[in-house]
Amino acid sequence: MNPVARIALVVAYAVLALAALGRSSYQISTKLSEAPVPYLVSGVSALLYLAIAVALWRRWAGVALVGTALELLGVLVVGTLGYVESSWWPDETVWTGYGSAYGWAPLLLPAIALALLLRERRARRDDAGVTPAQEGTA
């Protein structure tokens, strides 16, 4: 991955981690009983952002790939459930409305990161001269 894109993603994830950590630690420590699911989801998302930021910086491609895939899945599931089953969510999470409260960054970031990580993985495979089919039979 281009180092500029990589560090820009690290910065973006660090900012999101900071925002989500602040929000969730406040909610969990002061009013968890009011809406445990949304607040715990926000806490999980904060830890995930932190893990992705570290993985991108340390170049742990596998961790970053799994983390961003989980994040995208989480945003899509929580965002959709927020509309379909709104009674399950007495308060908002970081992922509510597909991350609309954060300028949709929680939806856009994992999509961009996943595309870059998958492209890098494909390039590494091509460099090694291994096709997916060969890899599967190895």
Partner: protein, 140 residues
């Protein structure tokens, strides 16, 4: 409170806007990095003034949510660490780290990283300042 809403909050927004614009300029035109280097300490100063002003309001009787407001203020200070993050990719910085995966950047890449970080931090600072304003005005 009037000083905060009339001067300090707009000051943070103006500095954030300048930071974002200079960050974009640096991404497009590397020599603008010099202006960005000048703007970074200005941003530090604006955040410091903002922090002192919010603390003064909180500790002189404004009935705002202390934890939430201080959380946002601390977040705004923490964001400053990301400004100029390109310095971590200089060959000298990388040579001091045993991690082989640490990025080593060229000068042009350092300017681009700093530009991108400035844009992200500027947006985050503006959002934090807006959140603090909402809390303080709500409590006033």
């Amino acid at each position: 409170m009037e000083l905060y809403t009339g001067v300090i909050h707009p000051l943070v927004l103006v500095v954030s806007a300048l930071l974002a614009l200079t960050g974009i300029a640096t991404l497009l035109w590397a020599p603008a990095h010099r202006a960005l280097k000048v703007l970074v300490p200005v941003t530090y100063a604006a955040v410091a003034v903002h922090t002192v002003a919010v603390a003064a309001l909180l500790f002189t009787g404004l009935d705002a949510d202390l934890i939430l407001t201080l959380g946002y203020v601390i977040a705004s200070v923490a964001l400053l660490a990301l400004l100029g993050i390109g310095r971590l990719g200089t060959p000298e910085a990388a040579s001091a780290d045993p991690d082989p995966n640490r990025p080593v950047l060229t000068q042009v890449q350092i300017t681009r990283v700093d530009g991108a970080a400035a844009v992200i931090v500027a947006v985050a600072l503006a959002v934090v300042a807006w959140r603090v304003l909402v809390i303080l005005v709500g409590a006033a």
